[in-house]
């Protein structure tokens, strides 16, 4: 009878139930970037939410960090096929940031320092599904991972979680962002493997 060994690699086995189709688990935190890393000091950082009427809601670093914080632990799924389980963040729920914003918008176009953009339905930012996070694993978020603050929308592929977030533009129509206008899927659900247009 053959002996089947799982080996001793010092790593817990991948939990396939948590792994979307076509993904593999990674244990480090790969850095993907479509351009130079913006270096924005906390004292220079600002976040705006703008509406279809031109109204603007702004937070500087002091105002942002005075908001109620949450500490989500989430799995990340990058369209380049790596997934990372159990990442620990600290930040502000979009439910808080958008709570007093009056809008009829159905879509959001997220703008980042450095010019990156990504689009998603507004409802995907609400109901406890999305945060603006400024701390990762107990530390200030490093610039390579989007610091001072990034969007975190873990139920969609990670390109939707814009690093170096600067502005959330609420829109009546859907405007494709940086990758969505170059072949990537408009929505990007990892569980339905929506990588490219037409998937």
């Amino acid at each position: 009878m053959p002996i089947v060994s799982r080996g001793f690699h010092g790593r817990r086995p991948t939990d396939d139930r948590k792994l979307p189709p076509g993904q593999f688990e990674t244990f480090d935190f790969p850095v993907l970037s479509a351009g130079p890393t913006p270096r924005v000091a906390q004292e220079d950082w600002e976040l705006d939410v703008t509406t279809e009427d031109g109204a603007r809601h702004s937070w500087d670093w002091a105002a942002f960090t005075a908001l109620p914080m949450e500490t989500p632990t989430v799995d990340l799924h990058c369209v380049t096929r790596w997934s990372k389980f159990g990442t620990e963040w600290q930040g502000v729920s979009l439910d808080v940031l958008l709570g007093d914003v009056e809008t009829a918008a159905e879509f959001a176009l997220v703008h980042a320092y450095g010019g990156y953009t990504t689009n998603l339905p507004l409802e995907d930012l609400l109901d406890g599904q999305a945060w603006i996070v400024h701390r990762y694993d107990g530390e200030d978020l490093a610039p390579e991972h989007g610091g001072p603050a990034r969007l975190l929308v873990p139920h969609l592929y990670l390109w939707k979680s814009a690093k170096w977030v600067r502005r959330i533009e609420l829109r009546l129509d859907d405007e494709p962002g940086f990758w969505e206008s170059a072949g990537y899927h408009d929505y990007g659900d990892p569980w339905r493997e929506q990588r490219y247009q037409g998937d």
């Binding site: 993907l32 970037s33 913006p38 380049t80 010019g115 170059a182 072949g183 490219y196 247009q197």
Partner: protein
């Protein structure tokens, strides 16, 4: 706002435009890296081979050496290859015998 390169390792995350030669040969009969491109943002004219190519990303992003704006993007899907040249005013190719 984009802060200029400060010399940290992350700022060397790009390759030069010669990295485009292989991927673009799937689309074009000529070697596009021999062309000269004009940046739609700042007007700088430079060889495609001199663009800054960020490949640790969901696609290839080639940026102008002068202003860091995007000149060319290329995404390779399972069935389709997308090429976005909106950041280039024009590509100029050297022609033999002209």
């Amino acid at each position: 706002m984009t802060i200029p390169a400060d010399g940290s390792p992350a700022e060397y995350a790009y390759m030069d435009g010669n990295a485009l030669a292989g991927p673009l040969s799937e689309v074009f009969a000529v070697d596009v890296t021999t062309a000269t491109s004009r940046c739609a943002h700042c007007g700088r004219t430079e060889p495609v081979a001199a663009l800054r190519v960020y490949a640790h990303a969901p696609g290839l992003v080639a940026r102008c050496e002068g202003c860091d704006e995007v000149v060319l993007r290329m995404v390779r899907g399972t069935q389709t290859l997308w090429l976005d040249l909106r950041g280039a005013v024009a590509l100029a190719f050297p022609m033999d015998g002209a």
